[in-house]
């Protein structure tokens, strides 16, 4: 939406098709809780934000990208404030900021603990002002139409009508989020199935740094529902079964930052505590504790009201009085479509990507909390502008030839709908994929299980051909949407597992038991994963360094 707004504001003549498989208010940004980072205080600086981000990325983030990001972050957050976003305020009416993991000072703007919800709704409501943003709601994009190396639009399945249509355009921006649903235990909602990543991948654009999957330290056991980092920002303590604040008492690399260390380190710490036998047993596996009881009811009700509600409804616990059960849970994908700082995809002209779908790379090997919401705004805007500039110079293409692509897609979808006879079920393949991913691409990884996962996912792609479906209806067929999503998820799973197996070091969120050190000599590069019918083809891309040379990452 940020890209669409940027595009129509930049050029009074163009129109933008906003195509989404769900209504805009349902996008998963809505669930983000903690905050959005941007330098706001006198005691802060762009340089500090930049360094925090570079260090947090374990020096894999591209520093020119990070420079641009920290410069534009405060402007974008201000712009959103002008558009009505109800940021929480200080006494003097200025925007309030809170502390967040890996940030050297308070720079996370917040709106109670529903920042994603407020940002999404403010953006959506602001976008309603523009008649030139034409919405295509509940349209599932099945393919990018690429003609002669240039993108000409998309084919989209109208979920309600069951009809495939071509939506033609001179540029396409992919903002479809990540693919957390390839894992069984994730904060992500049902819709996060890596659709945009798969679309780009199948069109010849490599996926970059896919091995870096962020495990958020504090998710509810069982459901995986996110308990925001802001709980730690406001002073929450993480404890083991003995009530010990192990991030303080033991050495897990977070130093004085303790609970405000970066997410990858805290997730590893919790896993290690559990493996050492200091976790608490439950029907959903072992967990640790997040203790907010010392914060007091008033602070929790004013700064963390949604957390309180979530704990009561989904964990049966009132955080004012009892500690919250938590364990690491898949949350975010640092990797994505290989794009440059303008959001331009590598390999197909006219194609752009922004947000979690893209890998610019802002977040490198590990993302700092509250950077990603700002990323959506900063690079959403930039990609929108880049797309407009490209579109102005681009030719339209041959409509008749493009229509044929649409017809072919209609045929493919019609054949898939209600397909009977094979022995496989959606739930079966999906479950096996998720199990394989958890086994090989968990918080701690090793050679044997990663290779097994690579083999398992390849096998699952074969099994997908024997899928058997039950819903033959044309109207609002959600089963066929789930089948298409599963296909996309398998693509992403292949990229993640293959990329992970190729990186023989531990960096950021990619931690190996059999290669525990970071290896800047051999592995200071971005992993590229190209689609190939014979199996993913891996490649390397240089990291753009800048004023900060890689150093030991200790807090």
């Amino acid at each position: 939406m940020r890209a669409a707004i940027a595009a129509v504001e930049a050029d009074p003549d163009i129109s933008v098709a906003l195509v989404s498989k769900v209504y805009p208010m349902r996008s998963h940004t809505v669930s983000a809780e903690g905050g959005a980072a941007g330098v706001a205080r006198e005691d802060d600086s762009l340089e500090m934000h930049g360094f925090d981000t570079v260090k947090g990325s374990d020096f894999l983030g591209d520093q020119d990208v990070i420079q641009y990001f920290v410069e534009h972050a405060p402007k974008e957050l201000t712009r959103l404030e002008h558009w009505g976003c109800p940021w929480s305020r200080n006494e003097d009416g200025s925007v309030a900021t809170r502390a967040f993991g890996g940030m050297s000072t308070k720079r996370t703007w917040y709106a109670a603990d529903k920042v994603g919800f407020h940002m999404l709704h403010s953006l959506f409501q602001h976008s309603l002002r523009f008649d030139r943003i034409v919405r295509y709601d509940e349209q599932f994009v099945t393919k990018l139409i690429v003609d002669g190396g240039q993108v000409r639009g998309v084919t989209a399945l109208d979920i309600r009508e069951g009809v495939v249509r071509c939506i033609l355009g001179r540029a396409v921006v992919l903002c479809t989020g990540g693919a957390g649903k390839i894992f069984p235990f994730t904060t992500n909602g049902n819709i996060k199935t890596g659709d945009g990543m798969a679309l780009a991948y199948r069109s010849g654009v490599p996926l970059k740094d896919m091995e870096f999957v962020q495990y958020h330290p504090t998710g509810l056991p069982g459901t995986g529902i996110l308990i925001t980092e802001a709980t730690r920002g406001e002073g929450g303590h993480v404890k083991n079964k003995d009530g010990e604040r192990f991030l303080v008492t033991r050495d897990y690399g977070v130093g004085k930052k303790a609970e405000l260390g970066p997410r990858d380190m805290i997730s590893r710490a919790i896993v290690q505590e559990i493996e050492a036998g200091r976790g608490i047993d439950s029907q959903y596996g072992q967990y640790a504790l997040l203790d907010l009881t010392h914060l007091g009811e008033e602070k929790i009700d004013s700064r963390l009201p949604m957390v309180r509600e979530l704990c009561k409804i989904y964990a049966g616990v009132d955080p004012v009085y009892e500690p919250i059960p938590i364990r690491p849970v898949v949350h975010y994908m640092m990797g994505g479509v290989d794009v440059d700082i303008d959001g331009k995809a590598n390999g197909v002209s006219g194609l752009f990507a922004a947000g979690e779908t893209a890998c610019v790379s802002l977040n490198g090997a590990n993302r700092l909390g509250s950077n990603s919401l700002t990323e959506c705004l900063v690079f959403g805007a930039r990609s929108g502008l880049s797309a407009v500039n490209f579109a102005k110079g681009a030719s339209a293409g041959d409509d008749a030839a493009l229509a044929k692509v649409g017809e072919a897609e209609q045929g493919r979808i019609d054949a898939l709908r209600g397909k009977q006879g094979g022995g496989e079920t959606l739930a079966g393949i999906r479950g096996d994929m998720q199990k394989a991913m958890e086994s090989g691409c968990g918080v701690y990884r090793e050679e044997a299980t990663m290779q097994q996962t690579v083999r398992d996912i390849a096998e699952l792609e074969g099994r997908y051909a024997n899928l058997s479906l039950e819903d033959s209806s044309k109207v609002f067929n959600t089963e066929i949407v789930a089948a298409l999503e599963l296909e996309n998820m398998l693509d992403c799973a292949r990229a993640v597992s293959n990329s992970a197996a190729s990186r023989n070091e531990s960096r950021g969120a990619h931690t190996r038991r059999d290669a525990t050190a970071r290896d800047d000599v051999n592995f200071l590069y971005h992993t590229l994963c190209h689609f190939d019918p014979a199996g993913p083809r891996l490649d390397k891309k240089d990291v753009t360094l800048g004023r900060w040379e890689p150093e030991e990452r200790k807090y």
């Binding site: 309600r160 009508e161 109207v475 609002f476």
Partner: protein, 145 residues
Amino acid sequence: MADAHPHAMAPTRPGKTRTAPPQRPPQFPMGGRYLAYTAFGWTGLIYLLLGFLVIEAVWALGDGAAAWQEQLLRYEHPVYIAFHVLALASVVFVGVRFFRLFPKAQPPRIGPAKPPPQSLIHGTLYAVWVGATVVFGAILAGGLF
């Protein structure tokens, strides 16, 4: 299940697939909390009848002292008494329901002025209501004027 208005929540341009008609809330009109709402609406009938009774009384006043005495006798008839008890109950019901809503219906600010706290609004409404009832009662009973 009963149909709602056929165009309830329909978009200006209907979608391209056939839809089933919208259904009314299943418990409407007599189930659950809707019963109180429906009763609230139906009290209008009582006020309509009360209105006719007021006209009847005013007419009698206009027709002279004898007519008025006849009218006063009518009020002692059990049906009249029963009706007025019902009317009192419905007025109290509507009053309480409306007073419960009234504080939250105050906008947060008109210009610089903010509304008083909810308890003060509640208190004032009931005080004025009871006070007015007492005063009018006293007048009608002949204790005042």
